[in-house]
Structure formats: C-alpha cells, structure tokens
C-alpha cells in the first residue's frame, strides 16, 4: 500500500502545431485557453522587425498579456473640434507627459512614474489625468466590480512606452471628391495634421471650409474628422501625421523601452563635464548602466569572436 503524487505528462495538441508556425511555444503549466488567446493575438498582430512591434509583442512571448487601464479622449468644443490645439500624450521610460499644445508650450502634466512620489501608483496617475480640462479619462481595468479600484495600487512604471504621434506615409486617395481616411481596422482616422499631397494640380489651394471650394485645385481638409474634400476628383497619395485619440494607456507586464531614451539616463549614467560644452551632463555609465550594457553585449556581442 502506498501513496503517490501523480506526475503530469503533457502531450501535444493541435494548438502546439499552430504555435510552432506562429513562433510561440506553449509554456509549462499554461492552460490551453490562455495559449489559444496568445496565439490569436499573435495571428492578429504579427511581429515585425521594428522597434514599435518589438515593444508591442514582447509580453506575449513570456505568456503574459497587456492590460488596458485608461482610455483618454479629447474634449471637444461646440464646433466639434478639440479644445486643445495640439494635444499629445507620451509615456517614456520613467515619465508620463501630457501636452495641450505640443511644440509650442511645455507639458501640462509631467509625472515621474519610476521613483516613489506622486506618480508611483496608477491611482495617482488617474487623479492627475482626470484634472486636465482638455482630455477625458475612462477607467478600463478588466477586474471584477468588487475589486474595481484594485488597479489603483499597481505601479504606474509598467505603463506601456509610447505616445499619441502617428504618421501615414503616402496613403492612397480614392478617385472621389471626398476621401475619408481610415485606420487599418476600418475605423475612421481623426485628428490629422501636416498633410502633404503629391498631386499638386488637384491640391493647389487649401480653403478654410468646404463651401469655399470654387475651382479646380481647391481643396479642404477636415482635420478633426480626417476627411479630404477636393473640387475635382482626387488622385495620388497623401502623407500626414495624426494624433491617436482615443489613446489607450496599457499596463505592460514586461516593461520595454529603448535604451536611448533620455528619461532613463538619470538611472544609468552619472554626471560628467561634456568636452564640447563644459557643462555637466549625464555621460558616464554608473554601475547599473554598466550592468545593462554588459547584459546587452552578452546577448548581442558587437564584435567577431565569441
């Protein structure tokens, strides 16, 4: 007579085959449901060889999912245009910044989300964002109703690196006198700016309103709604910038940011007088910075040999 602890023996399932072709293996102890969800995400949003995609896809490789925390949208005036002239949100390696008029004035909100202080927890971030008059903030955490405030005690440093800036390069225009600009998922793209058209004959004179279109070459851009109107049928392409609102702030279980980000210099570099300016700047790797660089070089040796 004996007592035994059963030994688990995992066997292959059809999902594993799918996972191999998508480059994601099932992790030990990972449920099939979670694995299927991870593969669905990988299939829907395939990794690309660029920095943005690396940041977006890193969590799923270790079996974790990003969590949507806040949805931030713009407050509109009576005409339906944003109250803020050039709104921008940025989450860097250590700071959260919010501008109402980016490029012209300083940010309305700067929060240190790394060090202990008033931006250390998400609850503090919510309070600060909610106080800004030109944006609205909606809480999105997918937690049970009874625990709806539990997210407020999570570290805000895990907010995903990114900003609201976006660029469309040479997007095609339909042969029509009205062109809506769309996102890849079919939703309408709004808050565009800095448009550059390549069909100069069609886009000769920009007008202030649709009613002013009077002759060939006249065009009008509804920058808020992302619609291009032309007097004659449009053609060619348009390159433009747009602001990604509503913007979703996500919590990233594996925090990723580029090492060239200036905002992390205070953690990894000590002051040194810069030769060219004679002013103290963060130039000297400190022990933590040296460790990071050594870890990186160990993974990616930048020389022949070992």
């Amino acid at each position: 007579m004996g007592k035994y602890t059963p030994i688990k023996s995992a066997t292959g399932v059809s999902l594993d085959e799918v996972g191999i072709s998508l480059g994601l293996q099932r992790l030990p102890e990972e449920s099939l449901d979670a694995y299927r969800k991870r593969l669905a995400l990988q299939a829907e949003d395939r990794p690309r060889v660029d920095e943005r995609s690396f940041i977006d896809t890193i969590s799923r490789t270790v079996g974790l999912f990003e969590e949507r925390i806040f949805e931030i949208d713009l407050v509109l005036d009576g005409d339906g245009d944003p109250v803020a002239a050039a709104p921008r949100i940025e989450v860097s390696s250590c700071f959260l910044r919010v501008w109402s008029n980016y490029g012209t004035s300083d940010p309305e909100l700067v929060m240190d989300i790394y060090n202990r202080g008033k931006g250390y927890h998400l609850g503090d971030v919510y309070t600060s964002l909610n106080a800004l008059s030109f944006i609205t903030v909606t809480e999105l955490p997918e937690t049970p109703v009874e625990d709806k405030d539990s997210y407020k005690y999570k570290r805000s440093w895990f907010l995903k690196y990114g900003n609201t800036d976006a660029l469309e390069f040479q997007g095609g225009l339909r042969r029509s006198r009205m062109n809506n600009l769309y996102n890849a998922d079919g939703t309408e793209r709004k808050y565009i700016h800095n448009c550059l058209f390549d069909a100069g004959r069609i886009f000769l004179t920009e007008k202030a309103s649709y009613d002013d279109l009077a002759e060939p070459g006249d065009y009008y851009v509804d920058y808020t709604e992302g619609i291009v109107f032309t007097y004659i049928t449009a053609d060619g392409t348009v390159s433009y910038e747009y602001r990604k609102f509503p913007y979703t702030l996500k919590l990233q279980p594996v925090k990723v940011f580029p090492l060239y980000d200036k905002d992390i210099d205070h953690l990894r570099k000590d002051y040194l007088i810069k030769d060219s300016t004679g002013i103290k700047d963060r130039l000297q790797l400190n022990p933590y910075g040296a460790k990071l660089v050594n870890d990186m070089l160990r993974a990616y040796p930048l020389q022949w040999g070992e």
């Binding site: 007579m1 004996g2 035994y4 059963p6 030994i7 066997t11 099939l32 939703t187």
Partner: protein, 535 residues
C-alpha cells in the same frame, strides 16, 4: 439498435420488410454490425472534439501517471491474469474519491462522467442584441462565440426582384475580440434557425442583417438553440439520410416530455426564395425517427426542461424540471426476438403506419394479404403489450379484448384467392413504454401452409430512453443546460427573463487504466495524492 441500421437496410427495395420493418429478422441482424459502425462514427467525432481549442485539460492536453513502487506492482494470479489495486484519490479540496479501473481507452477519455463539481456562479445578461432594439448593445461578460437566432421570417429577398438586394443572406457582427482587436464575422443565413460565429467577441459594436425579414437576436454563445444537431450520429430514414436533430416533445396527454429524433428534408428557406413553390407544412419538411420518453436510471419517468449534447462523451445530457441532470445514450431501442416465433410461411402481415411512436399515441395498422395463392378462411389479430398482456382485436376494429374474434374470409362469391380478403384497418393506443407485439393468425384453404395457423409478427416500439446516470442537483429553478467553451457544464436559471444566473460545473471521470508492462497507472483527472491498496 444503432441508428445506422437503417443505412444497411436501405440497400433493399422499399417493398421489402428488411428495409421498412425494424422489427424484422433482417434488421435485427444488421443491427449487430451497425452497432460497431455507429460507435466508431461517434468515436471519430469525439476525437475531433478533443482537439477543440478551448477545452480545458480534457482530451489530449495532459495525462497524469502514477509509477508504482515494487510493493504495489500489479499482482499476477495466473497467465495473463492480474489483480488490480483499489485507488482512492485526494482532491485539492481535501475530499477523497474512489477511482475505478477501466480497460478501454475510450472509456478513459469518453466514459460516463462520475463527478460534477461546482466551479463558480455568475450573473450574465444572455441577450446582447436584437433587431427589435437595434441601437442597444449589451455587455458581454465573458468573451465567447456569439449565438445568433433568426426566426419568424416570411420573406427572403430575391436578387433582381427585391431592389437593392445583392443576393447575400447574412448577419455581419462587428466588435472586438478578447485581445481588443477589432474583428468582423459574417454568418451566411440559409434559413431561419440558430447560428454561431467563428470569432470570439468581448464587445459588439455593430450588427448588420440583410436578406430576410425575420427577427434576429444575438446571444451569448449557445443560450438559445432552437434545436440541436447531433454531430455524433446520422439521421437515416427509409427514404433518405441527413443530419440527426433532437428536440423536446410532449406526449399527447401533456403529462410527459421526452426527446424527439428527426432529420430535416427541406429547408423552409427554399420556399421563400423560389416563386411558385408551395409552402410546405412542417411535417413535409422533416421526418421523425423516434420519440423517446425519458426515464431515470431506476426506470421512472421524469420530465425534461432542457437538454444538450455533450462534447465530452457524445451523449445527451438533460436537465429535469426538478433541476437534476441525467445522461442518456443517444440511440433507439432494439427490437427483441418475439416470444412467439413466426410460422415459416406467412399469408397475412400487419403493416403499421409507423414502427416507432411516442407514449399515448394512437396508431393505425393494416392487414396485408401477402400470399394470395390460397383463399382466406379466417384471421385473428393479437396484441401483446410490453407488460405481457395479450388482447385480441374485436369486430369494431378499435376495441381490444381478452376474447378471440375471428375475421372471416369472404368465400361465398369469390372466384380468386385475392377476392376472399379485403385488408382491414384497425387502431391501437400505445399507453405503455416498450415493444408491442402484434401477431396475425390466419388460416388459408390452399397453398403453402394449408391446414395450419399461419402466424406473422410485427413489432412496434413505444420509445423510451433510460438514463445511464443521474446527478441530483435539485436546482428547481434551472431553465437551460449546455457546455461552455471550456467544456464545463453550465446550468442556467432566469435566462428567459434575460438575467441569467449561471452555475458552472466541472465534469470529472474518476477512472484509471493500467500499464502492466510499465507497472504504472494512467489517470484521467488531477489528484493531489493517490492511495493504492490491494484488498
């Protein structure tokens, strides 16, 4: 009797008893083989179910082994004879369960489950959207596939006749998946009925319908199936073959509910789309294969509130009006060898309208003068009920009594044998479950069998389905039962008032199979600890 017996029988002409009479010797013989065929087909379908992406640990995902130490090795008691240990498993909750040995891997993976364990309770609004209130989109509590029903259509558009119609009958559902990517799924509607999206939604933002004028509703997964197709079995009738469908039926006295097995022949949508086609009555669109009153494992009748087909074992799981859960094999009853054998020569047969009927139904039957070489002297018709009570058809052809009534042949003015008998129609009420035996005893005056009483037999089954197992849950308010995408049993109440209270149960099968050579035990379920003892 296996449902596929009829497929074998359909190789014969329609006038042959081998084709139309499931109580015939031929069909009882075919049944021996089709049983195997039927179970193989079900196992094949179950294998495909085990690959279901959502299923949680059931199927091929994980095994649990116990490697025995020498003192617990299987004890050999003779050539190829072993004594197997008794196993008791300790669950994570601390309670213990007895683990039974099975000798077949099919029973290990798809055997009748032994244990239901409650996992969670939650409240869900099952209705997400309806075309009656198209601007309202309710929240989806747990990401799931979406069930869609279309009902009450009186007109399906025709391309070219209905202005602006492109020819696509569809429902397009747009929303977000569980990773919050925007997704869109289009379900093509061939007819009113129940449909399901391929994609999993966490939020729905738009539903577009086109091609029909019925009411479309969008529900959480399988909340509202109109009927259930059984992917583990086929619906075969004398005339045709198609998918097997199941639905509830109520006996004519409205006392009992049961299961009705049927197959569809035409889709109602066909009539909508073609001019000059008559509107079919429902009876023309489908063919009923069997009506089964459900019995509990003790043979007592109970009433069904709802039922589902289990992806775990291919069986029918029912929810009774008392809130208990029963497991039934989805099959039809086997006709037995009659107590009294037929004579070698048959002059007169009995042909019923149907061979399988529901409880408390009244059925017409006819005599069929098959061997018209000898004049008929007299005919008597006997009926033996499932409880072995013999009665005889009386002269009014409706009443059945204990005394024999002999229907005389018309010999006086007859010049040919066929003129001596006009086939008679008679009726019988089937108020008892089981096989009813009808015997036709005839005496002829010439030809084979002259001088003896020629007896033919026809069986009619008043169908029932006895449960393999019962789980006494006593959830008297429960209204619906189905399996969630994780293969958990969901029992739901208040769903009809659109505030569903869901209770999820884990279905477990405490069984093990032995590996003699490796001296190890393969378990179906997870246990913290397993105790191995020899009695």
């Amino acid at each position: 009797m296996a449902l596929l017996t009829q497929r074998w029988a359909n190789n014969y002409p329609t006038w042959a008893r081998a084709r139309v009479d499931p109580s015939s010797m031929a069909q009882r013989f075919f049944s021996c083989f089709s049983e195997t065929y039927d179970s193989l087909l079900a196992e094949k379908a179950l294998l495909s179910e085990s690959f279901k992406l959502y299923s949680e640990k059931k199927g091929l995902g994980d095994f649990y082994w116990v490697y025995l130490e020498e003192e617990d090795f299987f004890r050999k008691t003779g050539d190829l004879l072993y004594t197997y240990p008794t196993l008791v498993g300790t669950l994570s909750s601390g309670s213990t369960v007895s683990i039974e040995r099975v000798d077949d891997s099919a029973l290990l993976f798809n055997g009748v489950p032994t244990r239901l364990t409650k996992l969670s309770d939650e409240t869900v609004i099952p209705l997400i959207w309806t075309s009656a209130a198209p601007d309202v989109y309710n929240e989806i509590k747990t990401p799931s596939r979406i069930g869609i029903t279309v009902s009450g259509s009186t007109h399906y558009k025709i391309a070219g006749r209905d202005k602006g119609f492109a020819g696509y009958y569809l429902i397009t559902v747009t929303g977000y998946d569980e990773n919050h990517n925007r997704i869109e799924d289009t379900v093509h509607i061939r007819d009113d009925g129940t449909f399901k999206t391929h994609r999993i939604y966490s939020e729905i933002t738009s539903v577009i319908t086109d091609g029909f004028d019925g009411v479309a509703t969008v529900f959480v997964e399988e909340s509202y199936p109109v009927y259930l197709p059984d992917k583990f079995h086929s619906g075969v009738t004398v005339e045709r073959e198609g998918p097997l469908h199941l639905r509830l039926f109520v006996d004519p006295t409205s006392t009992y509910t049961g299961l009705e097995l049927y197959t569809k022949t035409f889709r109602q949508g066909t009539t909508y789309r073609r001019d000059k086609l008559p509107d079919f009555e429902t009876d023309d669109l489908e063919e009923v294969i069997d009506q089964q009153i459900v019995l509990d494992p003790d043979g007592l009748k109970y009433s069904i509130k709802d039922f589902t087909i289990s992806p775990l074992d291919g069986r029918v799981w029912t929810l009774s009006t008392t809130g208990d859960v029963y497991i039934h094999e989805n099959t039809i009853r086997e006709f037995l060898l009659p107590a009294e054998e037929q004579s070698e020569v048959t002059a007169m047969d009995i042909v019923p309208e149907l061979y399988r009927i529901g409880l408390n139904d009244t059925l017409y039957l006819w005599t069929w003068f098959r061997q018209m070489r000898g004049p008929v002297k007299e005919v008597s018709i006997r009926r033996v009920s499932p409880s072995d009570v013999t009665t005889y058809l009386q002269s009014d052809r409706v009443t059945w009594g204990a005394t024999i009534h002999k229907f005389e042949g018309e010999l006086e003015n007859a010049t040919l044998p066929e003129d001596t008998w006009s086939n008679i129609r008679f009726s019988s009420l089937f108020d008892e479950l089981g096989e009813w035996h009808f015997y036709c005893d005839s005496v002829i005056l010439a030809g084979a069998g002259v001088g003896t009483i020629l007896t033919s037999h026809t069986g009619i089954y008043c169908g029932y389905n006895k449960a393999l197992k019962k789980y006494s849950l006593g959830l008297s308010g429960a209204e619906k039962i189905w399996f969630s995408k994780e293969n958990h049993l969901a029992i739901v109440s208040n769903i009809l008032s659109n505030s569903g209270a869901y209770s999820y149960y884990e279905v477990a099968n405490d069984v093990f199979i032995t590996d003699i050579k490796g001296q190890r035990i393969l378990l179906r379920e997870i246990y913290d600890e397993v105790e191995v003892t020899y009695g």
